[in-house]
């Protein structure tokens, strides 16, 4: 075997590294006040780009004609992250359009008259939750949607995307996500899903789209989020999953989707959210590591305090409360939530303290998104690529996650030092990381669908 022959992988990687280095070299060469300007989130330009797309898309978008609820979601969610709302007329138009995508037998298709599809159903439901009005939320036919979800269940335990469609981890996540957020989840829907997802965790630690395939950021997010939502996350090998995901952050600061692949801004969300979800799974992670969980965790607040009290102490490797032997059998929140209504796992989860500090480099991720993915209006995969709504949505979602990853609880604002660039200009709204909808809209939807 020749030593370090320049293969395709190395060549491609080298090219991206050079482009990124050029950007960073320039950035570090300019005075701090100019740096601050370069780092600014171009809110107005993003707003223009997004609202323009809502009103008109060129003929080249015909290839996305079966993905229009997705374009709605990417756009509306991006606007929500920017703290923008759309006017009443546009909101009504959006509700009307999405209603036309709703199938008479439940679920949403990629456009009016198309077959219902799980992915576009997820996108339509998240769009309507992002719009947030009672009119938007009540436009969803939940009873029919439930029968659609049940019809998509496959004997493997997974879900198929549409009648006669493919079965994969994406389908599992989108089905479970909408079922949870709409409060229509039950045992029949969940049955077998955990086995299917578990069979997709690979030897690398991440999760693949199908059993046997390669670990991948998008599917790892889908698999992990779905496992949390069905309350079976303890079945995954979390230490290996964590080790895999932290290694996906590359020298550019952004994440790659797979081992030895190129960085891509959209994985700021898919991988970043995996790392962020892990921060609330400390009890089950500790259990898998054979560490006893502090008895103090009976009170959730204590656990966050003791975990977060002193990072320097961790540097010395003491964190004595963890190593002090407590009798195992401190079951923790994961089991306690067995008695919680299944649909409320999303709520219980977001209300857990963020008991672990981020295991990825949140500042460096923000640097990549702001300097390499951001362009004048919209975001892109990497330097040299064009913008699109998909990358705009997931770069912003990942940026939000990176900004809030050092907070202790949902609803806490981040500290200034944890937000890269000018604080008030760059700070985004926060998301619910299991559903990727803006957090306040999630709360509203939960209230609405649980009849509170």
């Amino acid at each position: 075997m020749e030593s370090r022959r320049v293969t395709k992988t190395l060549e491609d990687q080298g090219m991206v590294e050079r482009q990124v280095r050029e950007i960073y070299d320039f950035f570090y060469s300019i005075p701090p006040n100019s740096q601050s300007v370069v780092l600014e989130l171009q809110r107005d330009k993003h707003f223009d780009y997004l609202t323009r797309g809502l009103r008109k898309l060129g003929p080249s978008f015909s290839v996305l004609d079966a993905n229009r609820p997705w374009i709605s979601y990417w756009t509306l969610h991006s606007l929500a992250l920017l703290g923008e709302s759309i006017d009443a007329k546009l909101e009504n138009d959006a509700i009307d359009f999405l209603t036309r995508c709703q199938d008479k037998d439940g679920g949403y298709g990629g456009g009016p008259g198309q077959m219902p599809h799980l992915a576009t159903t997820y996108a339509a439901v998240n769009s309507l939750i992002t719009l947030g009005s009672p009119k938007a939320l009540s436009s969803i036919n939940r009873e029919k949607l439930y029968t659609f979800l049940l019809r998509m269940k496959d004997t493997s335990g997974g879900f198929r995307m549409h009648d006669g469609g493919e079965v994969d981890v994406r389908a599992c996540y989108t089905a479970i996500s909408v079922a949870n957020i709409l409060n229509i989840v039950d045992d029949e829907l969940i049955h077998g899903v955990g086995n299917y997802i578990l069979s997709c965790q690979t030897y690398e630690g991440g999760i693949a789209g199908e059993p046997g395939a390669e670990a991948h950021g998008g599917y790892t997010f889908c698999g992990l989020a779905a496992m949390i939502l069905i309350n079976e996350v303890n079945r995954l090998d979390l230490p290996r999953l964590i080790d895999w995901v932290v290694f996906r952050q590359g020298v550019e600061g952004g994440f790659q989707g797979r081992t030895n692949k190129l960085v891509d801004g959209c994985y700021s969300f898919w991988q970043g959210a995996v790392a962020f979800l892990i921060q609330r799974l400390n009890l089950v992670v500790h259990e898998q590591l054979g560490l006893s969980n502090d008895l103090g965790t009976e009170s959730a607040d204590d656990s966050s305090e003791s975990e977060l009290s002193d990072e320097e102490e961790h540097l010395e490797g003491t964190s004595s409360h963890v190593e002090e032997t407590c009798p195992l059998g401190q079951e923790g929140q994961e089991n306690a939530s067995d008695t919680t209504k299944k649909a409320d796992i999303g709520y219980e989860f977001i209300n857990r303290p963020i008991a672990m500090r981020p295991l990825f480099d949140s500042m460096y991720l923000q640097q990549y998104v702001l300097l390499c993915s951001q362009i004048d209006g919209g975001f892109r995969d990497k330097p040299g690529k064009g913008r699109d709504h998909y990358h705009t949505c997931y770069c912003l979602s990942g940026l939000s996650i990176a900004q809030y990853s050092w907070t202790n609880e949902a609803d806490d604002p981040p500290l200034h030092r944890d937000v890269f660039g000018p604080y008030s200009r760059n700070l985004l709204e926060q998301i619910h990381p299991l559903f990727n909808v803006e957090l306040d809209r999630y709360y509203e939807a939960r209230k609405f669908f649980s009849g509170l």
Partner: protein
């Protein structure tokens, strides 16, 4: 059905005599749709006629031809593909012809879910007949894009459902020879080694595979893929990994070389967490790498974490966390066994 030719000679449906009986159905977009697409006239018209036959459930040769035209305009339209399958089944069309059609579409759309799903459906219908074509087809894709996710999934499905395992390990070998950093090829190798009915399974293959992997590591120790693969070879059997002398030896070589040490230290850390007893030489290698600021009294495991914090600053928080969660050894082993049992 060459798409270029078709474009030049396309006659609108409304001018085609054999479509005179069909009333096109416009898209129900409403008065002020959001995300409206400025369709070309050809696009709108084709889809209007598609809706008409889809709603009428017309399973005819002209319907089949129409779906071909609609797919060429937007290969992402899963409704059209699904209806095409319904028509194909009803008409009893020769599916070898259909394969050729998909070949033509696939050339420019290798990352489209629908095409691959359709191909899988076709291959399933064709059975053993499809093995060679599908393996060759995916090979062709890999010659352009050796990491195409859909193509790999398709290939794995073909192998499992229809067979054709004979040359698969050699093929992985060839791809890794081209690019040892191709993680998709490593993943495929793992797939073959663990699932091929011809090789006797992981236990039978492990020694050979460890040899191969260790060699790849020595050639490029900064390549993450073989390190993960090596751990994978011992999935659910960490004890054997800890006891494998080849593993200890490659660790020593890498740690005493001038190469990147991160993956070696990371594996060493895992081994130490599972009761690995390092040789004096290995301990000395770690001593050499230990930063001066590090207390000499610190346990070896924690010292490895400290080295990693310096050597891999991007992941300093991860290594710091690892240091804080270095387990009580026995508990960790017990737990891993428990997990192993669960996943078996």
């Amino acid at each position: 059905m060459d798409s270029g030719k078709e474009k030049r000679t396309r006659i609108p449906f409304k001018e085609r005599p054999d479509w005179a009986d069909v009333k096109p159905v416009p898209q129900d977009d409403g008065p002020c749709p959001v995300v409206p697409i400025a369709y070309t006239e050809d696009f709108s018209e084709t889809l209007d006629y598609f809706r008409a036959i889809y709603i009428a459930d017309e399973r005819s040769p002209r319907a089949l031809q129409l779906t071909a035209e609609a797919i060429q305009l937007n290969p992402g339209n899963y409704t059209v593909w699904q209806f095409r399958r319904v028509v194909l089944e009803s008409l009893g069309v020769d599916l070898h012809e259909e394969l050729k059609f998909v070949d033509r579409i696939a050339g420019e759309n290798t990352k489209n879910y629908q095409i691959w799903h359709h191909r899988r459906w076709l291959a399933e219908k064709l059975g053993a007949d499809a093995v060679t074509t599908e393996l060759e087809f995916t090979k062709k894709i890999f010659s352009e894009d050796a990491k195409n996710y859909h193509a790999w999934s398709h290939r794995q499905w073909v192998l499992q459902a229809l067979g054709g395992w004979e040359d698969e390990l050699a093929y992985c070998q060839q791809l890794l020879g081209d690019d040892i950093y191709n993680n998709s090829a490593w993943n495929q190798r793992y797939f073959v080694v663990t699932r091929s009915p011809l090789l006797g399974g992981l236990a039978a293959m492990r020694e050979l595979e460890v040899n191969y992997t260790v060699q790849a590591i020595r050639a490029s120790p900064e390549n993450e893929s073989p390190w993960r693969y090596l751990r994978g070879l011992y999935k659910n059997d960490t004890q054997s990994l800890v006891e494998d002398s080849q593993v200890a030896s490659v660790l020593l070589d890498v740690l005493t070389s001038k190469n990147s040490h991160v993956h070696a230290l990371s594996l060493l850390l895992d081994l130490l967490c599972h009761g690995f007893e390092p040789s004096q030489e290995l301990k000395s290698a770690v001593d050499v790498l230990t930063p001066q600021s590090c207390s000499p009294d610190l346990a070896l495991t924690k010292r490895v974490c400290s080295i990693l914090e310096h050597a891999d600053p991007m992941r300093v928080k991860y290594w710091n966390w690892r240091k804080s969660t270095v387990p009580v050894q026995s508990a960790q082993c017990q737990n891993t066994d428990r997990l192993a049992n669960l996943s078996m």
